[in-house]
Structure formats: C-alpha cells, structure tokens
C-alpha cells in the first residue's frame, strides 16, 4: 500500500430522488495503488467511481483527491478533473474528431499546451496503448477494444495522477477484452494510481493491490485481492463470487 493517500472518500452518500444508492462509503486509495471495486449490478460501484471526479454530485460526505477537497463548494472542479483521468464503459470518444484530435483537444483547450507539444504527448500515449498507426482514424472506424485503448490514451495525455476505470471492458466482445486489460496491467506496473470498477475477477486478482466488495450501497468487505477473492469472509461476498466465477453451477449452497 502506498504511503501517501491519493484518493480519500469519507462518509460518502448519494441519493437519486428517494433512492439511496450509496449509504456511507469510506475508502482510500494510496499513491501508486491499484484498487478494484467489485460487486453485483446496482450495488453502487459505478456511482462511487463517478462521485470521485464529481460527475455525480455526492449527497453527503467528503472526497479528497491529491489533497484537494472536491466536495468543497469553492473548489475549481475543472482544474481538479485534469488530474483525474476517467475511462468509461461506453468509450465516449468524441465522434466528430479523429484519434489524434481526441487526444489533443483537451490538452490544448484546457491545459493550453501548444499544438506541437500536445501532438507529441498524444503520439507518445498512442504508442503506449499500441495504436500509433491509428492517429488519423475516426472513432467509428475502430473496434471497441481499439476505441477503449484510445480512450485510455486520451485520459493519459492529460498526465493525470489518478485513473478511474468504469467497467472498461463490459461493452467489449470477449476476444477484445484482453488488449484493454493488457494496457491497464501495463499502467499498473508503471505505478499509476488506479481505481477500477470491474467484473474481471482474474484481472482484479492478478493486478489489484486491494479489492473492495460492494453490495447494497455499502462496502461489505475489503482487503488484499487474494484474500477478498480467494477466501472471502462475508456470506454475500462468497455468494457473489460463486455466481460470477462459476455461473453454470448456481445453487443455494453456493461455493
């Protein structure tokens, strides 16, 4: 675990109307740490992730990223977000811009980098995700896996301190998942701080330093990946993992 705290979440609650999705979350991610969030659909894990860069406004609680309290009403949220990369389930590449411009537009308009510098950084990050030859392609010409790798490169081009991944492989055909996970594993190896919502248990087990298991708006269990996935303590974690890891052998006495 990193000695310095990159993300600190305290007493986080989030309601949509009368539906309370997050019921009091405390979590932290150390610098250079990879934390995976797992749990059943509707458990609030995507909402948790989206609260970390305030794409969802928390109803209560504190979010601190790199020492900046994002839940402070006076915070410059746009500046704070440039330090937090986000990768979406649906890729969300800007469909009217080619790959290179997807990577340079925010560098130039937000970070005010000049064209040459932005392009250099973009091309370096495209090379990192193995798509240097696609710089001129339009997003619609790429496969889902390629689009997601471009999306990762786009986030990296802002030189973020923390990367958030919201089910990055859930919209992909199975044979394309590996490429994206490979890029993420490489990022983790390079020491990037990552908070990853995922259904890829194998990835969580091998890459995550820690795993949070969420259910019903709470963090039910957390600990080293090997412990939470390998020998879960809570009944709910056990039954979830049994259903995910062995979906064809569902039974009341799962495990």
């Amino acid at each position: 675990m990193g000695s310095e705290i990159a993300v600190e979440i305290t007493g986080l609650k989030k309601s949509f109307g009368s539906l309370e999705v997050l019921k009091g979350i405390d979590a932290r991610v150390g610098r250079g740490e990879v934390v995976c969030v797992i749990g059943p659909s509707g458990s609030g894990k995507s909402t948790l992730l989206r609260c970390v860069n305030l794409l969802e406004e928390p109803s209560a609680g504190r979010i601190v990223v790199d020492g900046v309290e994002l839940t402070d009403p006076d915070v410059d949220i746009d500046a704070a977000r440039t330090r937090i990369g986000m990768v979406f389930q649906g890729f969300n590449l800007f469909s009217h811009l080619n790959v290179l411009n997807n990577l340079t537009v925010a560098q130039r308009k937000v970070l005010k980098r000049d064209a040459k510098q932005a392009e250099g950084i973009a091309l370096r990050n495209l090379a990192r995700v193995g798509l240097s030859e696609k710089a001129d392609a339009m997003p619609a010409q790429l496969s889902g896996g390629q689009q997601q790798r471009v999306a990762i490169a786009r986030a990296l081009s802002m030189d973020p301190d923390v990367m958030l991944f919201d089910e990055p492989t859930s919209a992909l055909d199975p044979e394309l998942v590996g490429d994206v996970l490979g890029v993420m594993r490489q990022l983790a190896d390079e020491g990037m701080t990552m908070l990853v919502v995922t259904h890829e248990m194998q990835f969580a087990r091998e890459v995550a330093d820690r795993v949070l298991f969420m259910d019903g708006g709470y963090v039910v269990e957390e600990g080293p990946a090997e412990q939470v996935i390998g020998s879960p303590q809570h009944e709910r974690t056990r039954s979830f993992l049994a259903r995910v890891l062995n979906p064809t052998h569902q039974g009341p006495a799962a495990g």
Binding site: L55, F88, G90
Partner: protein
C-alpha cells in the same frame, strides 16, 4: 369460378394502365395545342426574360435567402441554447419567441418589417436587409427547434467525457456539443434552407425597384406585360434549380448520418 388473388391484382393493374392511356388520349385530342403552348410556354416571352432573370432576379433570390439563412441560423442557435438554459426566464423567452413566430404567417412578418419597424424604431432597412431580417426572424424559430433537438441528441457520454477532461460547461458546449449537434441537424437544416428559398418570394409584397426584383416578383411583372403563364413557369424552374439539388443533398446527408455506427451502450448501473 372465383379468380385467384394474384390474377385479380394483375387484371386490376392492367385496367389502371388502360385508364391512364385513355385519359391521356382524350386530353390530347380535345386540347387546343397552339393555345396551350402559347399560354404555358411562349418561347419569345421566355427569351425576353433572359438574361435579367438570372443576373437580377435569380441573384437576388439567392442573396435574400443567404442573408435570411445566416440570420436564422445565428438566431436559431441562440434560441436553442436559451431553451436549454438552466436559467428559467431564458427558457420562457425562447419558448414565447418560438411559439409566436411559428404560429404567425411569415407574410405578416414581412409586412411588419416593411411598415411597423421603420415607424416604431425609426430604422429604414434596404430591401436585402428587410428580406434577410424578416426571413431570419421567421426561420429562426423553426431552426431553433431543429438545433435544440440536435443538441439533445448528442449522447450524454460525450459531455461526461469532455467534463472529465476538465472542460468547463461552456467549453464543452462549444467544442463538443455544438459541432456534433450540427452534424446531426444538417439534413433538416438543408430542408429549412429550401423553405427559406421559397419564402424569400414573400418580399414581393413590399415595394421593390427593378434592380431588387427576385424570381417571383420578376415573374409577376413579366406576366403583367405578356398574358401567358410562361414567366411564372420560368421563375418556377429557376426555383427548382436551387431546391432540387438541396433536396437531393439533404437526402444524401440523411442517409450518411442514418448509417452511422451505433454507440456502445451506456452504463445502466446507478
């Protein structure tokens, strides 16, 4: 014995062809071809209209329409953004404007611009400005609704991606939302341009000098000297030179955007 359905359909189709031929033949026999030709297409009258129908009228129709479209587009964009504003009075103002100008005849707007505005504000417009402003005011209401629909059709994920990269709401709107919205609304905007081209004829209700004639006015003036429909026909053909390619373009753009790749599903989890 009852006929099969297919046989009955074939017979019915043949009967319709026969009917069509009979009607055409009867019309051909009873028509006075010489008179018909003189009424609808008199070569001398048509020849007389050139070249000024092109150098004056056609040019003015294009000019008035282009001017009107530019104003309508700018106004429509502002109204669309107002209609989507989080500030309620902006929404109300935009709604009132749009409902008013969509609900009254464009002809009234032309008359108002010609008569009331100079009286009320002491501003005298030249003809091109009158046409442009009137077309822009009326067309802006329609274009506003088109653009609003286009903005709302931009996937939410595009905005979230832009915001997560640190773009402000304004920067997101300018850099991501509006360019994508315009791609979506290009086919309906082309149709609006066709409507404006035709509505530019309404300027003929105000007093125009010869140099300010557009196609409809030019046609009517020629008609008053030559009692044949030829000038109207020629003017109509000139409109078609503009509107048919635009219509074709609109359908082409529609096919292109209609065939665009469907986006990956957004996260449904809350």
């Amino acid at each position: 014995m009852a006929m099969s359905k297919r046989r009955r359909a074939t017979l019915s189709r043949r009967a319709q062809y026969v009917l069509l031929i009979v009607v055409a033949l009867v019309l051909a026999f009873i028509a006075d071809w010489a008179e018909l030709r003189r009424s609808f297409f008199d070569v001398d009258t048509a020849r007389e209209m050139f070249p000024s129908i092109l150098t004056v009228a056609f040019k003015n129709t294009l000019l008035y329409t282009a001017f009107g479209f530019a104003i309508a587009l700018a106004l429509g964009l502002v109204l669309a953004l107002m209609k989507l504003s989080s500030v309620a009075p902006y929404r109300w103002l935009a709604t009132i404007y749009i409902e008013f100008f969509r609900g009254v005849p464009a002809l009234l707007v032309f008359i108002a611009i010609d008569t009331a505005v100079p009286l009320a504000f002491g501003i005298a417009f030249d003809t091109a400005s009158k046409a442009g402003v009137a077309l822009g005011l009326a067309g802006g209401a329609y274009i506003a609704e088109t653009i609003r629909a286009g903005i709302q059709a931009v996937p939410k994920g595009q905005v979230e991606a832009a915001r997560s990269l640190g773009m402000s709401p304004f920067r997101t709107t300018v850099t991501v939302v509006i360019p994508q919205a315009f791609r979506i609304v290009l086919p309906p905007l082309t149709n609006e341009l066709i409507l404006l081209t035709k509505d530019s004829s309404l300027i003929s209700v105000v007093g125009l000098t010869r140099a300010e004639y557009e196609l409809t006015k030019f046609g009517r003036e020629t008609l008053s000297q030559n009692p044949t429909l030829t000038p109207i026909l020629v003017a109509g053909l000139c409109y078609l030179i503009i509107t048919l390619p635009l219509g074709h373009l609109s359908r082409h753009l529609e096919r292109r955007t209609g065939g665009k790749k469907v986006k990956a599903p957004e996260s449904t989890e809350v």
